[in-house]
Symmetry: C2
């Protein structure tokens, strides 16, 4: 089946590489603790032998700085020239237009959100489709037609999205799934659960539990500021909710029983040197896809369909979830996938919360926004005004124009800008100004709404409780 989980090839050179790293550590540790000579000798012998094997396989000497292949440990990996690479930790492409999303649909085995599906959503909700749908920003799905079948038959479904709270500062790109999820909540009138995977961030980053939970509380305020309905929305910290729910851990264990290390190795590229927390975490991200993880909301019902709006890089988690679901007697969650929000420097990379100039942050002032756009937004314009007037700009690579497709609501105005910039009638400075004029009020309004989010409101959103929604 097209939407079965992709099984990645077993990465042998990398395994060998990791064995050499481990064995090197072992030799050093034996020497440090002045182990018996024969023990050290035998460890060294194995190390040399592994290095010979490595050279035989890879064709070059082992070098600790250069792990082999594309499944190298995260952060060290890079796609080969011309190839896109997407997993939950790495998104890379060499094209200034960004990832080739049509290829990704084929690669991931999902379905394209086509005109027909958008029309069906419009008919079902009797609402104009969100600009993210109209413009292909949410471009791919799994089983969305099933969700609409349920909805049209007055059967319940619920929304699930989430955030890994890795730092206090969120950027506008982080808002994409939340803006769209709020729209879905409004037009379908359904409950929403938002996972703050602070356990994940604790496991992957150099953070304490307290710091990770602190980021959860801060990020929750930005999420609430998107306008979610407190009567229909439950935001939860994994670290906190696992100890408050009679259903969550049970589902985690159920999923963990039905996924092997071989599988998560194939899907996520884990290695034997990864901690067992990372290895078992995918089950924690999977569990909220099943309604009985939230007994306070859904009682003991395990059959309520889940719809997950998320960026496409999160799909591997849910391919795994969909693979497990029927084996544990649960419905497969449906998905809506978004493209990536490009960095100011260009669409080749996903944005990074750790580089302040790579995006517009939700804490930026009007002046910072203006400076960043003018200084850092990659331009599709020509080198001189004369050339630009003559040949026109390139909207396909222009980051200011891309940002406008995300945030400028007016379709006609957007189309006019596209035409004018492409023809050369509009200059880069004017295009950037148009973006600044959209972003400044957007961020200012977000900041104003966030200011009104009190600690008490956060607490209420995060309290397990009944939610009200139309199918009750």
């Amino acid at each position: 089946m097209a939407d079965e989980p992709r099984s990645q090839p077993f990465d042998s050179p990398l395994q060998l590489f990791n064995s050499i790293v481990s064995q090197g550590e072992r030799v050093r540790s034996l020497k440090d603790k002045k182990a018996p000579k024969d023990e050290i000798d035998s460890a060294v012998k194995l190390l040399l032998s592994l290095k010979m094997s490595y050279k035989a396989l890879v064709g070059e000497d082992y070098s600790p700085e250069c792990p082999p292949g594309s499944l190298a440990p995260r952060g060290k990996s890079g796609p080969e020239d011309g190839e896109d690479f997407v997993d939950p930790w790495t998104v890379r492409t060499s094209s200034a237009k960004g990832i080739d999303y049509d290829k990704l649909i084929v690669q991931f085995g999902s379905s394209k959100i086509d005109k027909e599906l958008i029309n069906r959503i419009e008919r079902a909700t009797n609402q104009r489709p969100h600009r993210f749908l109209r413009r292909g920003i949410f471009f791919s799905h799994r089983d969305m037609n099933q969700v609409l079948d349920a909805y049209e038959n007055k059967k319940p479904f619920y929304l699930y999205t989430g955030r890994g709270p890795s730092s206090e500062a969120m950027h506008v790109g982080h808002l994409i799934p939340f803006i769209f999820t709020k729209w879905l909540q409004d037009v379908f009138d359904v409950p929403l659960v938002v996972q703050m995977s602070d356990d994940e961030k604790y496991l992957w980053k150099d953070l304490t539990l307290e710091q990770a939970y602190g980021y959860t509380l801060e990020n929750a305020k930005d999420i609430i500021a998107c306008g979610f309905d407190i009567n229909k929305t439950f935001i939860f910290s994994d670290l906190e909710y696992m100890g408050m729910s009679p259903g969550f851990y049970k589902n985690v264990v159920k999923i963990q029983k039905h996924v092997t290390f071989n599988q998560v190795k194939g899907i996520f590229g884990f290695t034997d040197s990864d901690c067992i927390g990372k290895i078992s975490f995918p089950a924690v991200q999977a569990a909220p896809s099943f309604s009985n993880s939230f007994p306070q909301i859904f009682g003991d019902r395990a059959d309520i369909q889940c719809l997950i709006p998320c960026a496409i890089d999160q799909d591997p988690y849910f391919r795994m979830t969909r693979d497990v679901a029927p084996r544990i007697g649960y419905p497969k969650p449906a998905l809506l996938h978004s493209t990536f929000f490009p960095a100011l420097q260009g669409a080749q990379t996903k944005m990074s919360a750790s580089d302040p100039n790579s995006s517009i942050f939700l804490t930026d002032t009007a002046k910072q926004i203006k400076t960043k756009v003018n200084k850092h937004a990659f331009s599709g314009g020509r080198d001189t005004v004369e050339e630009h007037r003559q040949f026109g700009g390139n909207c396909d690579v222009d980051v200011s124009f891309m940002y406008l497709t995300f945030f400028l609501e007016d379709d006609d105005r957007l189309e006019q800008i596209r035409k004018d910039y492409t023809s050369g009638a509009m200059l880069t400075g004017e295009l950037k100004k148009a973006l600044i004029d959209v972003l400044q009020p957007l961020i200012a309004e977000h900041q104003a709404r966030r200011k009104e989010v009190t600690d008490e409101m956060v607490k209420e959103f995060m309290t397990p409780r009944q939610l009200s929604f139309h199918f009750q």
Copy 2:
């Protein structure tokens, strides 16, 4: 230090062996799916190279049937002739006397419970040492002197033991840690937490979550019938308590961050085909060793010393726990290890709850006990009465005598039996009768106490709550 967690030598031959197995699977899979020739060639090249490395290291050709060393994967392993093998799932010895426990102390790197330590416990508690101590049934420890230091300095400690509730029927051997733990609770006046690892049983066995939890409730009754003080004892189901405790999951994640798959592979023999639930479970068994897993009992104190009485086969979990503890800022748990309770058929094997004739069950009638002992208890007697009178019996291999060492309180009477049976003055039938006379009332009294354990009492024991104990 002798009782440091043995840092297990990183098991390189086994790792290499496993790499060869994986690589062999990869070659077959590539051939199956008719992969490009150069891909297959390169995979074969690595396979051959790994086999050469193996021969260089181990000194003999790789053979798929013979994994190296004693840490071979479960299910495929067996002790070599004359070698004992102990892990949480397998206990094997070829000796009718059972496991060589002195060797095990050396192998595990624990310390022997010697006369001096027993005397110190007697002085500290002002109580006669339990027969399990007097008779070497609890024979090994880690850091027990540290616990006594704390106790003598009026510093708190707590007890932690547990059970994997795999079936409704418990046998007398299952009671050993509980009988001893109850004594420890009485003489030290300390709180006790009892983990029912129903999540573990769900992961390892063909059980539903509901069945595993059902066994928890049934087994809890037998545990309560051992006489634990309800004001000092908290019994918890992992499946239930994980969703009720603000501290448990946080400690599980902390531990999971500090243990790699390589480590659990080395300690427990997990393979890449094991589910991620098994791989991460050791952290769940480790977490109750830290007092802030129980905020309802200990508040936010993370520094209260834990003492774990358990059978020696559980030690691998706690070697891992002791390795992690200082890295996450917690005290290492201390341990008291018991020998195994022999099967009726002889001390070569651990008992099995699935073979009704392998032991005396807590549900057996007086008649069943009599029949089982007479029919199945392996005898150290001679073939004929004449020979027996002349040469005497062998208490070292006689299971009835072994059972008496566990359950007959009177030291003098036990010694008399040993002398008489060894000399031939006592016949096998008489020895068996002595055991039956001890077991019948023991089991009957247990059954009577168990009958009085109501569902409400179970519920109370299993409710997270404050406990009362002398150091409060």
